[in-house]
């Protein structure tokens, strides 16, 4: 006899991922300056790490679609966190780089971001947290 296929939303990895992401983003919003969203922060952190990048490279490195990264960069530009100039070697490219203000802001925000990570995994022991990262990494 075949077992019934019942569908329990709460048991599905997709649903749980969504809820955990919601919680994380709530923690992020409450801890960080209001004009730093998770994606803006990610883009700026990558620029700090790598120096000036094309939009495409920045998108790839921070795991954002090109249409998404464009919006993120536009909004960062409005806030004078980044600026851009034509790549002299390739007229299609825009090189995006942190402004002085942007670099100051992202450096100041990094300790807070580490605190966000800490609070997010706070319900777990250190070993559990390490295990979780290991398992999630296999799913990327």
């Amino acid at each position: 006899m075949k077992p019934l296929k019942t569908y329990i939303l709460e048991d599905q990895i997709g649903h749980i991922l969504r809820r955990v992401s919601q919680r994380h983003s709530g923690i992020f919003t409450s801890q960080m300056p209001s004009d730093l969203t998770p994606t803006r922060f990610a883009a700026m952190a990558k620029l700090l790490e790598c120096g000036p990048l094309s939009q495409n490279e920045l998108g790839r490195l921070s795991a954002m679609d090109i249409a998404t990264i464009k919006g993120v960069v536009d909004r960062l530009r409005v806030r004078k966190m980044v600026d851009s100039k034509k790549d002299p070697t390739d007229a299609r490219r825009q090189l995006i780089k942190l402004t002085a203000k942007g670099e100051r802001v992202i450096r100041a925000a990094i300790p807070d971001a580490l605190e966000v990570t800490k609070q997010t995994v706070d319900p777990l022991t250190k070993a559990e947290s390490k295990q979780l990262l290991k398992l999630l990494s296999k799913l990327q």
Copy 2:
């Protein structure tokens, strides 16, 4: 001497969660009919499980903000997957219920959704997958 606080985006739980969610949603999109998004599916699955619900209840049960669930319900209504009527006992409420079409669609989609879950955790062993769900559940 204080250690340097280096920030590795790829090690942060928020970033990893975002990437895993992206992968899951890609699998969902490729496996499911194009007019069933993850949230639409979740809302309909809850309606199938619980019967008619107010927008508020539906939002709570499927982990969506009231402003979000409104958009989801509106789009489901346009597609004739749900309809709604005034709650006779409370004039503020709209009772949302699956249409016959909606019920047919969601029932047919459930096996596919279980397959999406399966594919999502495919890189993990059964034990790992169970462990992952356990750890994630602690973070909800």
